[in-house]
Symmetry: C2
Subunit: 324 residues, 2 copies
């Protein structure tokens, strides 16, 4: 099977490509080729099948068509302007997250093949006030432009799938934590920063209060979701093709307590509190308590706890070592 990853230079795209290279197959089918596409050049990876890369802006005419020219059997659409940037730059967010996605969907429709398409949506499609727990039929009324764009993409994915233009599955990812590498422009970046940076011996800024909650998934769990979605039987999914992923629900205070238990007070002392009203406003009303029944019924598997998320980070990114 031929696979395309849009957003192949991003953190999830790179990890997904590495996982596919290591497995060499997906759902029992041998992978015969992988194409990585992004707005910046994706890193080459070693794999037992040909890997090609391309750079382009899907909001520009012809780019989406070129990206899918190989008629992949499976498309992972992970490319997006992140929440903070989509909020700061209205036009850029809509250009990439709405029109870029629409261009991709139209390119596939007009090319006339029918791939499985796995789309990374976000729990940012939800916004409070919330009930005690958010069930699978709760309405999506975002209060960020990013969440709006993801919710629109979900609707398009459902309609294009219903029409038979592709076979889409949208997965609403929790906040990815602990996100490795440099901080990005996501407003939710600090949830990772306050774990990753102290473990590496660096200071991290905490812009919100301890009471702020979030719905977390490790990169390892998120890659698991993507792979699982790729192989799902669409007859089991039915017409509601966007599914809230399972996660770990905890507050910033819970995160810090887990970090303290694993790494000690000296590491926790590297967290510096510096309130930021804008970030507080964005994340304070975020969704963080879910009952993701459909995802669990369909076999998606979450991290076991926030401690397990930290331990996965230490194992996968730090070679088992914490900076004393």
């Amino acid at each position: 099977m031929r696979i395309l990853i849009l957003g192949g230079a991003g953190m999830l795209g790179r990890k997904l490509a590495e996982r596919l290279a290591a497995a060499a197959s997906l759902g029992g089918r041998a992978i015969t080729g992988l194409h990585l596409h992004d707005i910046v050049e994706p890193a080459a990876i070693a794999a037992p099948f040909p890997v090609t890369t391309a750079v382009g802006d899907r909001a520009v005419s012809g780019v989406a068509e070129a990206a899918i020219a190989g008629r992949p059997d499976l498309v992972f659409h992970l490319a997006a302007i992140v929440s903070g940037e989509a909020e700061a730059d209205f036009d850029k967010g809509y250009r990439v997250n709405l029109h870029g996605t629409l261009n991709l969907f139209e390119a596939i429709r007009h090319a006339g093949f029918r791939p499985r398409l796995v789309f990374s949506s976000s729990i940012g499609v939800f916004r409070g006030p919330f009930p005690e727990t958010i069930t699978d039929d709760f309405h999506t009324v975002p209060q960020t432009s990013y969440g709006t764009q993801k919710a629109i993409d979900e609707l398009l994915l459902t309609d294009y799938s219903r029409r038979g233009f592709f076979d889409g599955i949208g997965i609403r990812l929790p906040t990815i934590c602990v996100r490795p590498g440099k901080p990005n422009k996501a407003a939710t970046g600090f949830f990772s920063n306050i774990i990753r940076e102290p473990l590496a011996g660096h200071e991290a800024v905490l812009p919100v209060g301890d009471e702020v909650g979030m719905w977390h998934a490790s990169p390892r769990a998120a890659i698991g979701f993507l792979i699982h979605a790729a192989g799902l039987d669409s007859a089991l999914v039915g017409p509601r093709r966007n599914i809230t992923m399972p996660g770990v629900s905890c507050t910033v205070g819970d995160q810090i307590a887990a970090l303290r238990a694993i790494a000690g007070d000296r590491v926790v002392a590297r967290i510096r509190r510096e309130p930021d009203a804008t970030i507080q406003r964005i994340v304070a009303g975020a969704a963080w308590k879910f009952t993701p029944k459909r995802a669990l019924d369909l076999g998606f598997v979450a991290d076991k706890s926030f401690s397990a998320i930290i331990e996965a980070h230490i194992a996968d990114e730090l070679g088992g070592r914490i900076a004393a």
Copy 2:
């Protein structure tokens, strides 16, 4: 105040214009001008203020800008490709119902004024399986392209309003019944046809079974919703700017029973049963039982019963006369 009606040649647009002309004011403010815009020439109406008309396709560059050039204080956006046509012509539906709306919103944003914008959404944004009754926080996962386009427009309206580009209110209209005039391409048209045509002495085709239910509002009630939405205090509405309108919940069997009670067996005998699998599929899973708490709290008023809907039609459209 200056008012723009997009979709001014449509049934609701025309009735709204006539109501505004008769009232001469809205929410205590005198109307100083009315501009009617549509894809076909709107009929001129007599009014105590200047009325202008224009024809254009908002999906074409520059047309939306021209339509709002008078910087209206209030915009009614009622223009859309109806459900049956949007399902039959995928490109046309998206071009008008998504891109046409987006062009309008962008035109207002770039013009830099901030009108109240009342948007006619639809209960077509919902699709079953449903709970016993649909509450205001039920998710919008349409299974028609029309419903998809309306749900996307709702999301855009919320985000553009949140950003301060305009002050939007979306009202999810029930099926309009009894719709006067000729049948249009809406898949739900028969709900009106089976009342209107027999009352006028003509045969009507019923393409679905008696058990099919719908959520109804008379044209009179719908115009009331639009006028009420125009004057709503957005502080009371809050960030969730799309509101399910109240209606009358009944089955086709209930409709026919009400018609029989008002007009007798001879009129009912003009209904001819001719099942249509496509229409049955579209309407059989439609939403028809709601608890529209927010709308009621905000003062929207529904018809009292389906009999009242028939009586309103006989009074408003037939001069009180039924064809024997």
